[in-house]
């Protein structure tokens, strides 16, 4: 099971990295999402083998699953959820102001004034 999960982490990372290198922001968002899944799976994997729930009375302490990585993964999931929502809003804004969601090239260095100065 560990080997299957490890390969799964590898596949998620590979696909995520591929998508991250694309030009469209929607694909980048998907790539970030897959990378996030990969890391969460990795966190789960480092907790060791599955066991009984880590609740007093549910079983012998030696048979319990390690609760720590699960707590960490939960936190990471919540954070990536929020960030993905923000990225999607950014992609939408980019599409509604520019008509596309490609990550644009910068204008020639030095020639460019910062576009909008909040004032």
């Amino acid at each position: 099971m560990t080997a299957v999960l490890a390969v799964g982490v590898g596949v998620l990372f590979a696909v995520g990295t591929y998508l991250l290198l694309q030009r469209t922001l929607t694909r980048i968002v998907l790539g970030i999402g897959l990378l996030g899944h990969g890391t969460n799976l990795l966190l789960l994997l480092v907790g060791g083998a599955a066991g009984v729930p880590p609740v007093i009375g549910a079983g012998a302490p030696s048979e319990m699953a390690d609760p720590m990585p699960q707590a960490l993964a939960l936190t990471a999931i919540v954070i990536s959820f929020g960030v993905t929502a923000f990225l999607l809003a950014l992609a939408w804004r980019s599409w509604s102001t520019g008509g596309h969601d490609d990550v644009e090239h910068g204008v020639a260095e030095g020639a460019e004034a910062p576009a909008e100065v909040g004032r």
Partner: protein, 497 residues
Amino acid sequence: MNPSLLLPAPILLPLVGAALTLLAHRHLAAQRTIAISVLTASLGVTVALLATVVRGGAVAAQAGGWEAPMGITLAADRFGALMAVIAVVMLLAVLVYAIGQLDPDVEELFFHPLYLVLAAGVSAAFLTGDLFNLFVAFEILLIASYVLLTLGAGRGQIRHGMTYVVINLVASTLFVVGVAYVYAATGSVNMADLAGRIGDLPPAIREALGLLFLVTFGIKAGLFPLYFWLPDSYPAAPPAVTAVFAGLLTKVGIYAIIRTQTLLFASDGPSTLLLFVAGATMLVGVLGAVSQGEIRRILSFHIVSQVGYMILGLGLFTVAGVAGAILYVVHHIVVKTTLFCVGGAVEQAYGTGRLASLGGVARRTPLLAGLFGIAALSLAGLPPFSGFVAKLSLTEAGLASGRWLVVAVGLLVSALTLFSMTKIWAGAFWGRPSATVAGDGVAARVAVPLPMLAATVALVALSLAIAVFAGPLWDFSQSAASELLDPSGYVRAVMGP
């Protein structure tokens, strides 16, 4: 005072403030009052914390009463407490600056709640004693910074913001991967606990983990070769936002590098890798700055170049070197924020930061020119300003360790820094007022809002104070550096005797 009250307060106060400012939405005056009073209270608490640490050594608090290494540990030694104080001072100064600078319409767009969340994240990063919570602190401050960077959502801001968000997300992913591997190898994420356990790992695994964290924080700090996102994204934000980013955010990365590389992956002698990275970062950053033609873009490249000096001090792994790095961080945070404040004020008054359009600003607004001059000379490291003290201590430390090559690079970069500061001075401040500066329509706008000026003057005064009190500050940096290189006091404070 009890450290279990002092340690969480700089994190909780801004978070409570953020909630209150959200409730006071559409009441700008109330939001401003809340934000300023919360940060002032934070300042009081962090100063008290620093005093406690100086008197009795490192302190720790276990959130929820769960003992380390199981619970959520907050800890502060001299370095952490000093960074927390400086950060709150900067946040407070830039807040005043922002109130003068930002368009009320933009300011109303949740600026104050976001800014306070950023403050909470920065304090949490400096005061946490737990690797995973360092990740959480980074995420708190980064998410606030994503929104601040794209505040107002202009087209250019979206494009530059995108680069910033995506690159930081990649770094965060690497961070969690690093935490997962550390947990797999040692079974702990508490930094004080890890300090004892990581030493037992096989050297190959230890070095791989150290490198993973160096890359993660290197992206956030803007180290060579991972700096490219920084000069691209920072100038796109409103000037007040750039000022606080420039002063604090990369330095949180530097803090994390110094903390992990001394507490977890300490090296016995000078680290050639770090020294190489330091030299390359200094050189590439300053060369980038020399080729730019817009005030805030030049200054952004200088952030990269300056970060190299801090890594140079760390890379020596001697008390003098790390103390030099600490002194440099303190000096840099103040001076860099000042420069961005002045640059933003020039843009505010004349509508552009391009050197080609500016000229003769010194005649129209001599005060701005004077403030810029002091900060610029300090950045370049001319005596008697604070940069000189910081660079001198790094140079001495480098020579004492026999690393003359990287010291030579540092001195060359100082000269180039002076050159590019002269370029801003000659292009924007000196000479006859250009059409943009002297034009008919300009006269009405030239008055720089009072809060902006007051904040900038206060920051310049602070940087001069660093130069005046360089002696005591140097002593403090040295004791902070000895604590970092021999973290037994920190470990004892967290883990118990």
